[in-house]
Subunit: 344 residues, 2 copies
């Protein structure tokens, strides 16, 4: 696996913003991208790659949630293309602002995705004192990075995004997020997250955040035991990992497998947390929070309450919208049916 | 307003189960019911009353959540009819068991609706010692009643359902729930909940549970101040009410209005709680929990932990699937954006 590295200093040829035009026409010369003309009314939006329940609407079908589908009215298609890895689409929705989908699954919405992002960052980073070195796997749009940068102790953040088209979309449509790729503390890596972690220096990171899509498609390796073993090795003693860990309503079999893997690999603590996201299937998403052997990490009682530290936060980040210390603690409280399955 | 009372002892002419046949054909002779032939493949399912994004699927459109819609694949249409008050539909879904919709909005799903029902009952009844007299407004299918009956101290439960067709559906398709209508402690009233409460004996109830649909259609009055005033009057000192109070993502304007009304009416305490329901819009639902002047009620710290009292619970009810004392406490912890709006 070749890992292509593009640091913040040059932006790299791959990330030229001219590769995407404002109407979504993809006229770059890289032959792995299949350009699709945007139709602003959405009527021909999904032809060829997936399907919609109605013209002008996006509908989220997946074998991961058979028999149900969430749909959003499309105000304007902003981008649609096929990368080496997946279908990438960005549209302006009627109610949730810009919506990013990968292989037909909603990854982020501007006005409804912030619980996911705030929690995947602040659950782990709020649980350790003074996070300095952080690795983000996935998250190529930049929402996760945005939240990590709230911590004044940060010295170095590596982001490993497998799909350059996602980063292109960020540079074109989320310039306030992509601007952070140029922060001197940030290194953007275009490549495979599992391979990157395997090659990382042992004991280097304080925290690793796995902002992955579902375990079908390019993120599949990020749910397997060899990946968790590499993560544990790359973390310092008492370091923490937070991975996206699906829905208690839909994916208990996946969750149980992740937990079984993590219990074998992480010798500190292993915890499952969850939160609500209005635009995700069943309205919830879970996280695995694990620590390596070393200084004890009590994830359920944050030691680094970022919501109280507003004086130290760059004002342009704006206030946290979802996360606070009480929400942090409550994220570990499970409904009875889930607790009995997860704790067994 | 005429309030028709049908006690458990005779079942009443209105509630003859012969009014509904198993294929959904509505051949009763009451002229307010418009029979609709069921098509098991769902293709013509919603003609005339609402619309579907695709044949064979139910799609939940509403002016209360414009620009988004949740859809479920229909395995079998069980009932469809128009009552005096609303469109009533019951179908077997691919993933959530039987699904009840009123005016095109999902009210309950067998396999995903239990968080709503357990919380609307146990948040109030878990907060007071020894609940004896309980009023349920709405809830004519019987899920709410099922949960109230877990409390061994119960002496009298009145249920006021405005729509007899909903009760008919329960008797035909949920006989294990409808059986509880015949419990000697239960009185089923067919009529208007607001009128019933207004006429109720002052100070009679320990708890009132308002299991309403959204504030458009027949449940509109249940969100207005005169209704809350009647509720306060019907409760004993230190009595409690729990009302369905919408989604923090979609309906903050409605929630703020309900809270403003409740703060003026209830002189004990006024609280907002929320929980997750996989088949509701945005995946969450809220509750208003208020108490009247009298013995103090601290809703955030349950005094009557039903989840611990399994020895006293009729075994046929089965264990609680969602609710426990920790989930109870966590329900009052709000995301920062909601807390700032609700507490202001």
């Amino acid at each position: 696996m070749e890992v292509m590295t593009s640091t913040h200093t040059n932006g790299s040829a791959l990330l030229k913003s001219s590769a995407i035009t404002t109407n979504g026409y993809h006229n770059g010369n890289s032959n792995h991208r299949k350009g699709v003309t945007a139709h602003d009314n959405g009527r021909k939006l999904l032809e060829g790659s997936s399907n919609s329940l109605e013209p002008g609407w996006f509908s989220e079908f997946s074998p991961l949630w058979p028999g149900e589908a969430f749909s959003l009215k499309i105000e304007k298609l902003l981008f649609q293309g096929k990368s080496d890895y997946q279908d990438v689409m960005l549209f302006e929705s009627a109610t949730y602002g810009k919506v990013l989908t990968l292989d037909g699954a909603i990854q982020h919405t501007e006005n409804g995705g912030f619980p996911y992002t705030e929690m995947i960052v602040h659950l782990p980073l709020g649980s350790i004192p003074s996070p300095k070195k952080v690795l983000i796997i996935g998250g190529g749009i930049g929402f996760t990075l945005f939240e990590v940068l709230r911590y004044p102790t940060i010295e170095n953040i590596d982001i490993v995004e497998i799909d350059d088209v996602v980063v292109d979309v960020s540079r074109k449509f989320f310039p306030y997020l992509a601007a952070n790729f140029n922060d001197p503390r940030v290194t953007m890596v275009l490549g495979d997250g599992a391979a990157f972690v395997k090659a990382a220096k042992a004991g280097y990171y304080d925290a690793i955040i796995v902002d992955s899509s579902d375990p079908i498609g390019p993120a599949k390796d990020l749910f397997e035991r060899p990946f968790f073993e590499a993560v544990a090795k790359a973390l310092r003693p008492g370091g923490v990992v937070c991975t996206q860990a699906e829905s208690i309503w839909l994916h208990m079999h996946i969750i149980k497998q992740i937990i079984a893997n993590c219990r074998q690999v992480f010798k500190g603590s292993v915890n499952y947390a969850w939160t609500t996201v209005p635009t995700y299937p069943t309205g919830v998403i879970g996280y695995m929070l694990c620590s390596t052997e070393g200084p004890e990490v009590d994830f359920k009682n944050p030691v680094n309450p970022i919501d109280k530290a507003t004086a130290h936060i760059k004002s342009e980040l704006g206030p946290l919208k979802f996360y606070n210390s009480d929400i942090h603690k409550a994220a570990f409280i499970l409904p009875s049916f889930a607790a009995s399955l997860i704790e067994s």
